[in-house]
């Protein structure tokens, strides 16, 4: 391998890879995300609860431990990249970016309003901390391949992480990207599948079967690990074990998750809460239920 530039000088405010986060803290942070999602959707009047809840622990592990970032310098050339293929879960991302000071917390008040900088889907042109716009399922792993190849061409060692939905894997373009990832030996590329078993219309494999998923990724030349996406220890261990960006095989983490995880109401009726709006009473009950286990 040729030598790569790496960010060896850590500036104040930089979030390093592998910063301290205990199992309990990760678990807590996942629930913190869920409460913030409920609050955001309350002000917007509509939102994607269930699919934001299923990736809460994954987001917590990425943003509070695994990704190398400089919130004060969102365009830092050596930052790790994060792409949200399942763009409709951006609601779970906004509270994190505000908490890490990518933008003022006051922006959250505008969520969902016309011409707001933060919305149901992420827009890279207006929201600091967003590495690529999304919404169109199936595009972002391809974009991630481009970023990973761009890193290699310029000899930078940043990592590119793409979170996709499992329904999203029905899109053919994703498999073009998966082919390209192994063809170009992109050890600096990680795909995390938030495999909550559902798409908007129903159970994923009832609509169009995507299993056996691990075998499919393996056959396409990727390293695969399968975890419980809500197990904080498994999330920490897996994210800590991402291969060196200079290595030659891309990684897929199949995170088996529960759509609507973390709230009885949404776990029992994940599809009803795919897109909706809680009443004030439902919201109060939901927050109480989540807070009860956060103590």
């Amino acid at each position: 391998m040729t030598s790569t530039q790496s960010a060896t000088v850590v500036v104040p405010g930089e979030l390093e890879r592998g910063r301290p986060l205990s199992v309990d803290e990760l678990r807590w942070r996942g629930d913190w995300i869920r409460i913030r999602v409920i609050e955001l959707i309350a002000s917007a009047g509509l939102g994607h609860y269930s699919s934001s809840f299923s990736c809460a622990e994954l987001f917590a592990g990425l943003y509070y431990r695994a990704l190398r970032l400089r919130p004060s310098e969102p365009d830092w050339a050596d930052r790790d990249r994060f792409l949200l293929g399942k763009g409709h879960s951006a609601t779970a991302l906004w509270p994190i970016l505000a908490d890490l000071d990518f933008f003022p917390a006051a922006w959250l008040d505008d969520f969902g309003k016309v011409a707001a900088k933060i919305n149901d889907h992420p827009n890279m042109k207006v929201a600091p901390g967003i590495d690529f716009s999304s919404g169109a399922l199936g595009h972002n792993l391809s974009v991630g391949v481009g970023m990973a190849i761009g890193a290699r061409i310029q000899r930078r060692d940043f990592r590119t992480v793409v979170v996709t939905g499992d329904g999203e894997l029905q899109e053919g373009q994703v498999w073009e990207a998966i082919m390209a990832g192994s063809h170009y030996h992109l050890g600096n590329l990680v795909a995390i599948v938030d495999a909550n078993g559902f798409s908007g219309g129903g159970a994923t494999s009832a609509a169009m079967n995507i299993e056996p998923l691990a075998d499919r990724f393996t056959a396409f030349g990727w390293s695969v690990v399968e975890i419980d996406g809500h197990d904080p220890q498994a999330v920490l261990d897996t994210f800590d074990a991402f291969p060196d960006p200079a290595s030659d095989k891309p990684t897929c983490v199949i995170a088996r998750t529960v759509k609507g995880k973390g709230l009885r109401m949404t776990e029992q009726a994940p599809q009803a809460w795919h897109l909706g709006h809680m009443t004030d009473e439902q919201q109060t009950d939901a927050v109480r239920e989540i807070k009860a286990r956060m103590a």
Partner: protein
């Protein structure tokens, strides 16, 4: 390397020839220019969706800056967008309809809406691949490309114009879509600077104006020559920029007399539509004729025969021009 002036009837490289395409500016403008740019600009990257023809000089000199993505065009467009976010300047090679038509969504959502500086080289457009049949003919691409917000759309009349447009648009901060028709005959003697959003008057004439784009420009110039023999003076405008368009050039032409548009494109959404939109918007009334491929299932045939079939020859265009007067 020095550029060579193209001989009178030299066409661009036959991308399917068994012979190694020559690497000179005249017959291989894209490959030549990309290699030249890459020598001094570390941002240049060429992506190929199984269309690496003519890129051998770049591949030899800068192998790392050539990315082959195989017959996976939608992936290629989104990969280009990702590359652009890292500070690189990607040029995507794609063929005919497997560009703007197949990848319209990726072009719109990942490149247009994000404003990234991706350069999309729509090669073998129009009827260039006529022999392969309708599946390989890009004749709806202007309609699609110009509907995408913030996308600059340019159309090269010949080889020299291809080179000129690559240079003229090089510094644009946003995305650029190039419509290249390799079977075009010569129009320009040498690459020139094409002012942003401005059309080029390649021939003067007071009786009517022919507005054409791409390969149809050369055909229109030849038609104007035939008309001159009959005592009719036709001006010819090269609609180089299809987005943004040169509104004033349309207004001037229509104010002066009848207008005939000529394009290797379906009748909907191309140059004819551009002119009609402007005239309608400005309330200008003039006789407007539009020469285009007919709005029906298209035939297969070598370009020369198809052009004859669809009335896109100098003689047929001259006849349509006379009908307007």
């Amino acid at each position: 390397m020095t550029e060579t002036q193209s001989p009178p009837d030299e066409k661009m490289v036959d991308v399917f020839s068994d012979q190694q395409p020559p690497v000179d500016a005249a017959r291989n403008p894209i490959g030549w220019e990309l290699a030249r740019l890459a020598d001094t600009d570390p941002r240049i990257v060429a992506l190929s969706a199984d269309l690496s023809s003519g890129l051998q000089l770049l591949r030899e000199r800068h192998p790392q800056r050539y990315v082959e993505l195989g017959i996976a065009e939608t992936n290629a467009v989104s990969v280009a967008a990702g590359l652009a976010t890292t500070g690189l300047l990607p040029y995507i090679m794609s063929m005919g309809p497997f560009g703007a038509i197949k990848c319209a969504e990726q072009l719109r959502t990942d490149v247009g809406y994000t404003g990234l500086p991706v350069r999309f080289m729509g090669r073998l457009s129009g009827l260039a691949m006529g022999f392969f049949g309708p599946s390989h003919q890009a004749i709806e691409d202007i309609a699609i490309a110009r509907a995408i917000a913030d996308l600059t759309v340019v159309s090269a009349a010949d080889s020299a114009a291809t080179l000129g447009l690559m240079r003229s648009t090089f510094d644009l901060p946003g995305p650029v879509f190039f419509r290249v028709t390799e079977h075009a005959g010569k129009v320009y003697d040498a690459p020139q600077q094409f002012e942003f959003g401005k059309w080029v008057r390649v021939r003067d004439g007071a009786d009517l104006t022919i507005i054409a784009t791409g390969a149809a420009v050369g055909v229109s110039v030849s038609a104007a020559e035939l008309l001159a023999e009959a005592g009719i003076q036709a001006a010819v405008l090269d609609a180089v920029y299809l987005k943004p368009v040169d509104e004033e050039a349309v207004v001037d032409a229509a104010t002066a007399g009848p207008v005939l548009t000529v394009e290797e494109h379906m009748p909907i959404g191309g140059v004819g539509s551009i002119v009609a939109e402007i005239l309608g918007g400005r309330g200008i009334v003039t006789r407007l004729g539009r020469v285009a491929i007919s709005d029906e299932a298209i035939e297969a045939g070598v370009p020369e025969e198809l052009l004859e079939y669809y009335g896109l020859t100098p003689a047929a265009v001259a006849r349509r021009a006379r009908d307007l007067l």
